[in-house]
Amino acid sequence: MPSFNFLLQKDPFSRIVMGNTAIVRAMVESGTRVVTSYPGSPTPEIADAISGMNPQDRPFYFEFSTNEKVATEVAFGASINGHLSCVFFKSVGLNVAADSFVQLSHMVLKGGMVVVLGDDPGANSSQNEQDNRHYAHLSYTPVLEPANPQEVYDMYLQAADIATKKQMPVILRLTTHVCHAKSRVEFNEWSNPPMDTTPGFDPTLANYIPITNRVHPMKRMALEKLDSLKPDSEKSVFKVDNNNRERGIITSGLTFLSLMDTLQYANHKPDILKLGMVYPIPEQAIKDFLSSHKEVKILEELDNILEKDIKALAFDSSIKCRIIGKSGFDDWQNEYTPEKVHSIISSVWPDMLAKRPEPEKLSVSAPPRPAQMCPGCGHRSAFFAIKKAVGVEDITVADIGCHTLGFLPPYNMGQVLLCMGASPGIGAGLSLFNDKRKVLAFMGDSTFFHAGAAGVINNIFNNHNMTLILMENGTTAMTGHQNHPGVGHNFDEITQKISPKAVFESYGIKVREVDTYQQAKLTAMVKESMDEDGFNVVIARHPCMLKFTREQRRKTSFTPKTVTVDQSSCDHNYTCISSFGCPSFFITDEGNVTINEDLCIGDGSCIQTCPSDAIDFSRNKKEK
């Protein structure tokens, strides 16, 4: 783990950092005292930077909570106790947190609170590309939207300042390639002021119990605070004056950078109004911009939120400017990359940009390479074994985690997916009026603690007829091996280990468990379980081998291992490739199966899958 202690230096400095790193320096400088999260791309590298600082020098408390809702509640509790707090998570995490999140603006947040969202236009690593600016409108919460790492840092400081002064929540909305962008950032000094640890919660400061008619004054306060930010919004605009009184563009965030790059092709350049605070919008700046141009394009990634606000403003102000919004469904989708912006601008104003040069077409294209489970992954053995227990007509329900990849060939396990922890509920619904097609659902251990328990309990409560496979790998693998409540270690220290098996048994569920490398036993257990009525759980356990192998490689005693294929025994049955599908197998030009020793970790889980016993551990240990 690289050191991030540079984030704690006292003097001003500049350095090339990721947006996700820059934000941590802003937490330090702003005096943020409590930070919480649940891991999810594109934000987990924020926690990487936090964990790379000496814990005893870290001027704030940090935890990975069990889910985004709990993380929001912990940050809220800290804030009403007088501490500036921050919660961060990915786009869809806000759906989990929403029940608590929408109340925040109704409360007097004594210490202030910054909500950092990692939205994912393009759905690079999410089940949708939802535009969380909608939640800002729903909850009367202001939104700042940075475009690059410098702005991530600057705008966090601004968000913290507003949140503290107005005792309210402020959203800092990042997107994937703002989180992960790297460029030089200029940081300020940090004096490390002493921390006030007085528990400052004062129930007489405001009404904290929103019941019936007590709600309305709270809502009014939220609306008034939001309204009071209009001057801040006006100050957040950045204008690029190209002396064009005909055409202008209003935009924000990373899209602004795409636009600036695209204008290298411009025959004539439009004026640009870049917004920093996108909710509430800077009404005066927008009115002035609209009034001084004949046509204004709203260049807005994902949904038409600014477009609607700006059109309403123009209508109310009787401004005659032609406002050009989205024109087709493509405009609603995907990230606004430089090439997408080029094509949108060209369709709006065909004479503005020269064509992008296109290289000659190649005659051969590369085979697709979807993400896949790692060599030795326990989920591979699990899917290989479970597939043998599942009938053609049976139904398999996926959940979120590395094991989602089981839906891909050659396993095709998992036919429907909603979100974290949804599989027991979906499976229950599929089991109704259904005595022909058995239902099997998958779920990871981190997900069980996150949002899965309620679905599991419901299946007991309502006697649902299905089998749940808990794919227990002992970590939150997909987002970078963060600890969860079943690990026995939280972000900072050893803690009580909660065993999913013990939890299930305490619910009164019949639990079968097996290491997934015992493939035949797992197949038999799943068959038994599916043949029984009622709700059953099979724990298919194997530690995450990526994590395990990385840990092994750090040891001096480490000797690399591989398996080998005996060419004289191999009868070219290809089970290893066609059904088991470990990426370490390599097919030669002659159609022989060999081992890619760069990939093979010598776990040997494939040995039992070969019908001709041609695979064995390599006797010659791989050279290090």
Binding site: V364, P368, A371
Partner: protein
């Protein structure tokens, strides 16, 4: 040319992160403005990993538009073809390490058709330079990224960045225990050319 667009690609697990971070720092040491962005998250699990690096003046986004990379660096041959196809401009440069991590489709089709000749023929369509890197006696396959870096330095593929800048960057990024071996590989390639 007032900017240099570099697209770096390979398969998750090949050490693309270190390669792109080294290039980024080297560019910074050379006094160039830099913007970069890497793939994170699920896509890293055995999928194509990509890293965008932009050096020079008047650049804004860290992203490179398709067909606009001046240089494509690939750590694997399938990804060399994919990266060239999507990102390399006409008259650009491709450098790749000639190793193969076969995608599932190739394994399921039970035949491998991609080789050096295919890469060269395809590159010719766009009039691109190709540098194939393969080191017979590499002490550790995880040093393939440094073998690529050594070749980039030896052939001066990035204007303005000298071998010293690359060495300075490696020295900052690698632990002393692995730095020595990596510098040996780097210097050996540098001196050979």
């Amino acid at each position: 040319m007032n900017f240099h667009n570099i697209y770096i690609t390979g398969v998750g697990g090949q050490g693309i992160g270190l390669l792109s971070e080294t290039m980024l720092l080297s560019g910074d040491f050379a006094g160039l403005d830099v913007r970069a962005v890497d793939t994170h998250g699920l896509a890293q699990r055995g999928g194509t990993v990509e890293s965008f690096l932009r050096l020079g003046k008047n650049i804004h986004s860290p992203l490179i538009a398709p067909g606009m990379a001046d240089l494509v660096i690939a750590l694997e041959i399938n990804e060399a073809l994919r990266g060239m196809d999507k990102y390399l401009r006409n008259n650009g440069t491709l450098i790749y390490y000639d190793t193969q991590w076969q995608p599932l489709e190739v394994r399921l089709s039970r035949k491998s058709t991609l080789n050096e000749d295919v890469i060269n023929t395809q590159a010719k369509i766009r009039n691109c330079n190709v540098h194939r890197v393969f080191v017979e006696d590499l002490p550790d396959t995880r040093m393939q990224n440094v073998a690529i870096l050594g070749t980039i330095a030896a052939k001066k593929l990035v204007e303005g960045i000298t071998p010293e800048h690359y060495i300075q960057a490696l020295s900052q990024l690698l632990k002393p225990s692995v730095l020595k071996g990596n510098l040996e590989v780097f210097n050996k390639i540098l001196l050979k050319k």
